[in-house]
Amino acid sequence: MYQVMLEETGESFQCNEAESALKALARSGKRGIPVGCRGGGCGVCKVKVVSGEYSQTVMSRAHVSKEDEANREVLACCIYPRSNLLLRVIGKLQHVVRR
């Protein structure tokens, strides 16, 4: 079990190696990262891994470029902790209806 912390809020939650950071967040009942498709497709859960090690599953290139990946900017629903993690939320929900 590892500890995942959100930089902005200082909120933290437990996450095991077999569950994504986003899934663990949802399971904990806490908030802080937008929850969308949970499959690496929609991009709303994008985070920067400020510190810590993780493994990852495939993510949509529409939301995570090779450069992003190298820069540890990834989708929280596709990363699995291999150490404690510190995350900065960078995904934003886009407004869709012009007002």
Binding site: V35, G39, L93, V96, V97
Partner: protein, 312 residues
Amino acid sequence: MALTGVLRPGHAQIRVLDMAAATKFYGDVLGLVETGRDKQGRVYYKCWDERDHNSLVLRQADQAGLDFFAFKVLDKATLEKFDADLKAYGLKTERIPAGDMLETGERVRFELPSGHLIELYAEKTQVGNGLPNLNPPPWDLKNSERGIAPVRMDHCLMYGPNIDQNKKIFMEVLGFYLVERVFMPKGGPAGEAAIWLSCGHKSHDVAFVVHEQPGKLHHVSFWLNSWEKTLRAGDIMSMNEVPIDIGPTRHGITRGETIYAFDPSGNRFETFAGGYQPYPDWIPTDWEFESLGPGLDYPQRKLHESFLTVLT
């Protein structure tokens, strides 16, 4: 009602990030019937009670979303007429040769002002629903109860700009009629924020929501025969840890009983039942944007944030 012109939604081609995970989901959990794989590696499915060879095609890609959505038209003469009518309307059309998709005839493809590719075709091999044609039982043990086992691919909701122009094309060229709509928020520009269009007797065959980015997929929907089956689908989703977005609940708009959930690549799908059967002479049902909450989720009256923001 005589059904001519555009008959029904025919197929959706969806991009998936991991084909192995996708086929496990669509085959085993959603319980579609796999009908083939082509040289490009695309995997073809139909719902158990559909007669034609395929209604869902998966293509492995590096991003999720919808490649194209297609409608079956009555016959080849109808296809030719629609091609000519679309061109006369000012749209560019493209012919995709027969055989490009397995067991599927020539397709006429065009791009909507919302950035979505739409196809029309007249021919697809009828492989049947697995039941005998003579004195059939109402369902079978092989595919009708395996996984969620929807009856048919029912409709698609797409997000993009210029949905007013989409509406004109569907109504003026393709013979659809407007069933329900949501107006834009009060105090801003007038117009429609969302439209539900039918080509037959269903509450909708295609729907659009206005969105800044073109070509977005909200969901492909699969039909179930009852609310009970919708609840069963929810149970099967949870057993398999399929991420559910909304539901089981009932839409105010179209009155359908619904679950929104996501495939392993993050493409939203819907399992859908109920609703009502409109006729083309009916006056459309109107919704204020301010009532989109009950329009989306009638019992909860909640405009779930993900409805307008989570797309592929």
